[in-house]
């Protein structure tokens, strides 16, 4: 029988239209060539423009599906947690055990003792965390997180300044910019929706000047930009403030725009000019902090303020720092005071979403306009719905929370910051946390690897009564589980994926092959487990495509579901490039900004009311205990940054041979820092601080600023008998803290580097 959604090739190969949906900056078209039930090749979008072309990660996917390291059947731990010793058990045994333990813990300690450790490892609507959350809701809820490591600082700043995350312009609008500033933004490696690098290249070919600001001479800085400004990590706010100083003192600000569309400029001006704290934020002041020469700061400020329209695109990486939200706020404010908002070729920075494809069904096409009242009743349903978690239903908001925050950061006080999970587990209610955690249900995440402070994480995971995980591979996290349920890959199931940031398209992932070995989809696992948990009937009982139709039915932009399923993608026709806040600028009477004041909040009264000293109402620059100027630098003089590289998606796709050979894992270090430590290219070095020690090869390169070490995040933790990580997991070194606005400090750790031993790897790095 031939499936109507499958193109049959002449050599009895069938081509299944599917897509790639890990947690990268993409979501791209994959066409799986299947012969005798096996994927033999993969192509990408070769249909109409704009094509949604997959990158190397997606093209290498065959090696992931058929990896010998795939988990093949349910496993029960037999050794100590973390040792990785497991025995094969049946699905019946595994699911019965999991159900029994969940029900025992629920009965004995209540639902808040169940911690859902969720993650974005699968970005389909249907599989991954979605069915698990639904199932756990149906048994009374669970304790969960607030804060997303990728973007929490940018999210907070976007909501504080603009009251929305829809702050981006469509990529093709970059052609209208005279100047583009890529601030801590490396789309050549991180994609930022397919086509982004291509549009940047086209803009540059069209005469647009592009400047990159980054501690690393990234591929984006090297290839897409005209100019690279090297900046010391975590000091971006100081440079943005100094640019504001130049703009204000040289009267280059757009005062008409400021008067009409913003509130609180005078507060900001007072701080920038030094009237508030006695320190004018001059370019010379910023040079000391950022290492960027004052004349370069001044020049860029003038260029940005006078070359209109100009797009300042503030990447999320510099906000993955202690007080990262201040950087994002300062960038947003610079966009505002130059009047680069709501116009073609401009850019508001903020969260930077430019289309609604990622919004939950109900809001698509029903964009709420105008100012929103504090604690809008809309956000407080009276009765719990199936998607509501009873553990935090109607809990009062956290005191730091802005009145509306989406993207997984509902302000309920029962939620715990994602980077604070280990303290939650280890301290519980005695430590002031909202729950005493007894078990973890882990899905879609290699949690231990991907959140700060791996060594504390090990203690926390060891202290739990029960851990279950859905996994495809024996990750460092899975080694701590009591039961591992083998999940299939997206090639083995149907799903729909939305673009990472939100572009006008959808990907329908048609199942290409049957589940390998004994693996099951997350939906199948939850369907079967829900029966054992006593859940009589639920969405989990329906076939995949039926649930997908339910999920997509409120989306008015999908006008032809059948076509989407057949083609494997659905490109929404957009009349003109989306420009955030166009209506707010053109018709402010009828379209106020969705903030409390109805204007762009340079000074945010709502934050001021909270009276939290390190969460100021205007963006400010702060140092902190692991900053370049802290006393700790005597012991640990180097700043660690942990960005994303081109060969992994977080910790997914880590050990695929085709990707591994692109860029062998190594710590990047500047020749100056290497030579004083007697380290040569390819030597094995220890990168360490009080939290742990990572032992990896050194790549000595001028592409990284002096004083900075880069360990790309995502490599798998692999401890020796002394707990030294030979895998090169960056989060062994990062701190499990968070800023008042929620930023994760993945780029704010101090370290030292020592030579471990000489190596002859030179030439391979």
């Amino acid at each position: 029988m031939i499936d109507e959604n499958v193109d049959v090739d002449e050599d009895s190969e069938k081509v299944v239209n599917t897509g790639c949906c890990h947690d990268c900056g993409g979501r791209c078209v994959l066409k799986a060539h299947v012969k005798n039930g096996k994927i033999i090749r993969i192509e990408t979008d070769n249909n109409e423009e704009p094509q949604i072309r997959a990158c190397a990660r997606g093209r290498a996917y065959r090696q992931r599906v058929y990896s010998e390291k795939r988990l093949k059947y349910p496993l029960r731990r037999v050794g100590e947690r973390g040792e990785g010793n497991f025995e094969q058990i049946s699905w019946e045994e595994a699911l019965s055990h999991v159900a029994t333990r969940i029900l025992e813990i629920k009965e004995k300690y209540g639902n808040s003792a169940i911690l859902f450790v969720s993650g974005g490892g699968n970005q389909g609507m249907l599989h991954g965390v979605t069915p698990v959350g639904l199932m756990l809701n149906l048994i009374g809820g669970y304790t969960r997180y607030w804060g997303i490591p990728s973007y929490e600082g940018a999210l907070f700043a976007s909501m504080a300044t603009y009251g929305t995350i829809m702050t981006g312009n469509a990529r093709n609008d970059l052609l209208n910019s005279k100047l583009i500033i890529m601030w801590g933004w490396n789309p050549a490696n991180t994609v930022w929706d397919p086509g982004t690098s291509l549009w940047l290249a086209k803009a540059r070919e069209n005469g647009t000047k592009i400047v990159a600001i980054d501690p690393i001479f990234t591929d984006s800085a090297a290839i897409l930009a005209d100019e690279w400004i090297a900046i010391r990590p975590g000091t971006d706010t100081a440079m943005l403030l100094a640019m504001a100083y130049v703009i204000i003192t040289e009267k280059l600000q757009n005062q008409l725009f400021i008067d009409k569309y913003t509130v609180g400029f005078d507060h900001y001006k007072d701080y920038v000019l030094g009237h508030e704290d006695g320190q004018p934020k001059t370019p010379s002041w910023a040079e000391e902090i950022t290492t960027v020469p004052a004349k370069i700061i001044t020049k860029l400020a003038r260029e940005y303020a006078t070359n209109k329209p100009a797009a300042l695109i503030a990447g999320w990486g510099p906000a993955r720092t202690t007080f990262g939200e201040q950087y994002s706020r300062a960038a947003n404010v610079l966009c505002a005071i130059t009047g680069n908002i709501g116009i073609n070729g401009g850019y508001a920075s903020g969260f930077m979403r430019a289309y609604y494809s990622r919004e939950s069904g109900g809001s698509v096409g029903k964009k709420k306009e105008g100012p929103i009242k504090q604690m809008d009743e809309k956000y407080k349903p009276k009765k719990p719905r199936p998607q509501d978690n009873l553990v935090d239903f109607n809990a009062p908001p956290r005191k730091e929370a802005l009145y509306k925050l989406r993207g997984g950061t509902n302000p309920a006080s029962t939620r715990v910051h994602f980077n604070d999970y280990y303290n939650l587990i280890l301290q519980g209610t005695k430590g002031g946390y909202p729950a005493d955690i007894k078990m973890a249900y882990i899905c879609g995440t290699n949690r231990l690897n991907q959140y700060s402070n791996v060594n504390k994480g090990i203690k926390a995971l060891k202290s739990l009564e029960f851990i279950v995980t859905h996994e495809q591979f024996m990750t460092p996290t899975a080694k701590f589980a009591d039961i591992i349920l083998p999940a299939n890959t997206f090639m083995e199931r149907n799903d729909i994926a939305v673009p990472w940031l939100g572009s006008p398209y959808y990907i329908y992932l048609n199942k290409a092959i049957d589940s390998l070995y004994e693996s099951k989809s997350d939906l199948e696992i939850c369907h079967e487990l829900s029966k054992k948990l006593g859940i009589k009937s639920s969405l989990l009982d329906l076939p995949e495509d039926q649930i997908l139709q339910i999920f997509t039915s409120p989306r008015k932009d999908i006008t032809n579901y059948k076509k989407m399923k057949k083609d494997g993608y659905y490109k929404v026709e957009v009349q003109e490039p989306f420009v955030a806040f166009k209506k707010q600028i053109e018709d402010p009477e009828n379209y106020p900004f969705p903030t409390i004041s109805g204007k762009i909040e340079i000074y945010c009264e709502h934050i001021a009311e909270k009276n939290i000293p390190l969460m100021p109402a205007i963006p400010k620059y702060f140092s902190h205990e692991e900053h370049y100027d802290s006393p700790l630098t005597k012991k640990y003089p180097l700043q660690l940054i942990t960005p994303h590289n081109k060969r992994r998606t977080h910790s997914s796709l880590h050990d695929l041979p085709w990707l591994e050979e692109i860029e062998p894992h190594a710590a990047w270090i500047n020749p100056i820092d290497a030579s004083i430590r007697n380290v040569r290219n390819g030597d094995i070095i220890d990168v360490y601080n009080d939290r742990g020690r990572v032992r990896i090869p050194a790549k000595i390169t001028d592409r990284i600023s002096p004083g900075v070490v880069c360990v790309y995040q995502g490599a798998w933790y692999d401890p020796d008998e002394n707990g030294v990580d030979r895998g090169g997991c960056a989060n062994v070194l990062t701190k499990d803290s968070y800023s008042p606005g929620g930023s994760f400090p993945m780029n704010s750790a101090l370290v030292e580097v020592n030579l471990y031993h000489k190596n002859d790897l030179e030439g391979n790095l």
Binding site: N46, C55, A188, K646, R703
Partner: protein, 185 residues
């Protein structure tokens, strides 16, 4: 003859390796030393004044290919129809027996050999299997930056100009590589 060749826009190449991985997937080549299309990087300068460029190198299907002459068993031939240089692996006697004669004369290291004992030569054939069906090569269809193109060299020259310079590319007038380049400045 309607010589077919490559176009490569170095100013756009971000070194993402998608072409290379797509090539390995399509032609079913394991990770390792065999790369029908390679992505090389060229770094110059000292912090903070740096230059970085990438260069993709496949086979340039030269107008006068030295590998064809060097092969002791005539295993390498240039197709009359389109000038594509192809290898007959039945005739190739293997790297150890022959001593890499084709590789030694190629300025771009296009002949590729696996680590296997006496491995036979393999290299880019411009996706003949796809070309014969009227499809573009897998690398051209893969490139997210649209930095690659394959077609009759005259057509490419008409579209992109006559340049054969790019960072890291050593031209060779004698053997005439069938390529058009746009350099990164």
């Amino acid at each position: 003859m309607n010589q077919i060749g490559f176009y490569f826009d170095q100013s756009r190449c971000t070194g993402c390796f998608t072409c290379s991985v797509a090539c390995k997937d399509w032609h079913d080549i394991p990770a390792g030393p065999v790369n029908w299309i390679r992505v090389k990087s060229f770094e110059k300068g000292k912090f903070p004044n740096l230059f970085l460029a990438y260069l993709t190198v496949a086979c340039n299907h030269c107008a006068d290919p030295p590998c064809v002459k060097a092969c002791p068993t005539n295993a390498i031939t240039k197709r009359e129809k389109d000038g594509i240089v192809v290898i007959d692996r039945e005739k190739c006697i293997g790297k150890d027996e022959c001593g890499y004669k084709c590789l030694k004369v190629c300025p771009w290291d296009s002949p590729q050999f696996s680590n296997e004992l006496n491995a036979k030569m393999e290299k880019c054939d411009l996706c003949l299997d796809r070309l014969e069906k009227g499809q573009q090569t897998i690398c051209v269809e893969a490139c997210p930056m649209y930095a690659l193109d394959v077609g009759p060299i005259e057509v490419l020259q008409g579209k992109y100009g006559n340049h054969i310079e790019a960072e890291g590319f050593l031209n060779n007038d004698k053997i005439k590589p069938s390529i058009v380049l746009k350099p990164k400045k």
